[in-house]
């Protein structure tokens, strides 16, 4: 279980997050919802270690830790709102690059990539470059890239915002499949319907938790 307590964050003297407490239960999907500008992305970035909180603590399975440590242990995976795929590499290489650079053999990384490509219906695109993919395909590559490192918790920022609204239910189905497979997920979204479809728990900003 990932737990954040007393998280506060200011930007240029303006308070964005104030004394937030958040629990992410193993195998569950937590949706962080709220109006634009309320600090959802900021909170996700703090969990991911891309932004430092001014105050607050983080524990993993009860032990005090930091985002940086969680990252080093490969616990967190992040799917960016704009996907941030590496444009110079093919779909397959986007998925295998980080594992091979962290010491996994090319053969093992490729085997894992085969699985992910298959699971996410990307087999035909394996040699394509990101610029030639549709939004939905890009997102699935971004997810595969994160999953290739076998994270325990997957973080998504607005997974439906860059996509055709018709694809929204597909994304919800995909996240629910991951949940079935035991993945712990944190999803930032302003889309309440989507949140209702995927979330076990909804965290309403700026107020707090609602079961």
């Amino acid at each position: 279980m990932l737990e954040l307590t007393g998280i506060s964050k200011q930007f240029n003297g303006r308070t964005i997050l104030k004394n937030l407490n958040l629990q992410v239960t193993d195998g569950k999907t937590l949706a962080i919802v709220g109006p634009s500008g309320v600090g959802k992305t900021t909170l996700l970035r703090i969990i991911a270690g891309l932004e430092d909180a001014d105050q607050g603590e983080m524990t993993w399975n009860g032990a005090k830790t930091t985002s940086e440590e969680l990252r080093k242990q490969g616990i967190l995976g992040v799917v960016f709102q704009n996907f941030a795929l590496f444009p110079q590499y093919t779909v397959r290489k986007n998925i295998t690059l980080a594992p091979t650079l962290s010491g996994t053999s090319q053969a093992d990384a490729d085997k894992k990539a085969d699985e992910l490509l298959n699971q996410l219906s990307l087999t035909e695109q394996e040699n394509a470059y990101p610029s030639t993919l549709s939004g939905g395909q890009k997102q699935r590559v971004a997810i595969a890239r994160a999953l290739a490192l076998n994270p325990d918790v997957l973080l998504y920022d607005e997974p439906t915002s860059a996509l055709d609204p018709a694809l929204r239910d597909n994304v919800a189905d995909m996240l629910n499949q991951f949940k079935q497979a035991g993945m712990t997920q944190v999803v930032v979204t302003h889309d309440m319907d989507f949140a209702a479809k995927v979330a076990d728990t909804v965290f309403k900003m700026p107020i707090g938790l609602e079961a």
Partner: protein, 218 residues
């Protein structure tokens, strides 16, 4: 035809000088430019980084803001006054490298700034080290962005290498000049022009090939 055969060895000798000034300047100033561009890139408010950035900005301003010819003269004739003496060849390389690294630094600074911040972040959350991030994610993208500008500078460098005559080094242009004045004919200078064109033609081809290698992504 005979006459061409007579002066060609001198011209080729000069071409050799042009080529080593060119090659040596390039292989030193490009990596140096990349390194300096990292210092030039806005990022932290750390006082040391700010100081370095200020110094580097002065450096690029001075070396891009004054003629290379003047810099060459200062290095060879000016620096000895304060006790720094270079032989001719070292003076040439020193001045050319400082000049070209300033241009390359600015080009790479622009290239680094053009790469989306989320690329760094994606690499970070995938647990890549800083060096891996640069080597595998950022530099390939920057290279694609800067290639056209680098190509221009490389062609300029071939032609700028003719400036070495001011400190008495015999390059291609000087060899042509000498033959032209001695024999009272423009033929040597026509040949010089042709040799420069051949050199820049080859470089343009190389540039096209390299750009092709980076054409498969945007």
């Amino acid at each position: 035809m005979n006459y061409i055969g007579e002066i060609l060895p001198a011209l080729l000798n000069g071409t050799w000088t042009t080529l080593w000034v060119f090659a040596l300047t390039l292989v030193i100033s490009i990596p140096l430019g990349i390194l300096l561009s990292l210092g030039l890139t806005k990022g932290t408010k750390n006082p040391l980084a700010v100081a370095i950035r200020w110094i580097l900005n002065c450096y690029t301003w001075i070396f891009r803001g004054t003629p290379l010819l003047l810099q060459l003269i200062f290095v060879f004739y000016g620096l000895p006054i304060i006790g720094v003496v270079f032989d001719r060849n070292s003076a040439v390389i020193f001045a050319f490298v400082l000049n070209y690294a300033a241009y390359f630094a600015e080009i790479f600074r622009g290239g680094f700034q053009a790469v989306d911040r989320s690329q760094f972040e994606a690499a970070t959350v995938l647990n890549l080290t800083r060096w891996q991030t640069l080597r595998y994610i950022i530099i390939p993208q920057v290279t694609k962005i800067v290639l056209p500008s680098i190509g221009n500078e490389v062609i300029n460098l071939v032609k700028d290498s003719s400036l070495v005559y001011v400190i008495g080094i015999g390059d291609l242009l000087r060899a042509g000049n000498i033959a032209s004045a001695r024999d009272v004919t423009l033929v040597p200078l026509v040949l010089v022009g042709i040799i420069y064109l051949l050199l820049t033609f080859v470089l343009t081809m190389v540039q096209k090939q390299v750009e092709k290698k980076f054409a498969n992504f945007d």
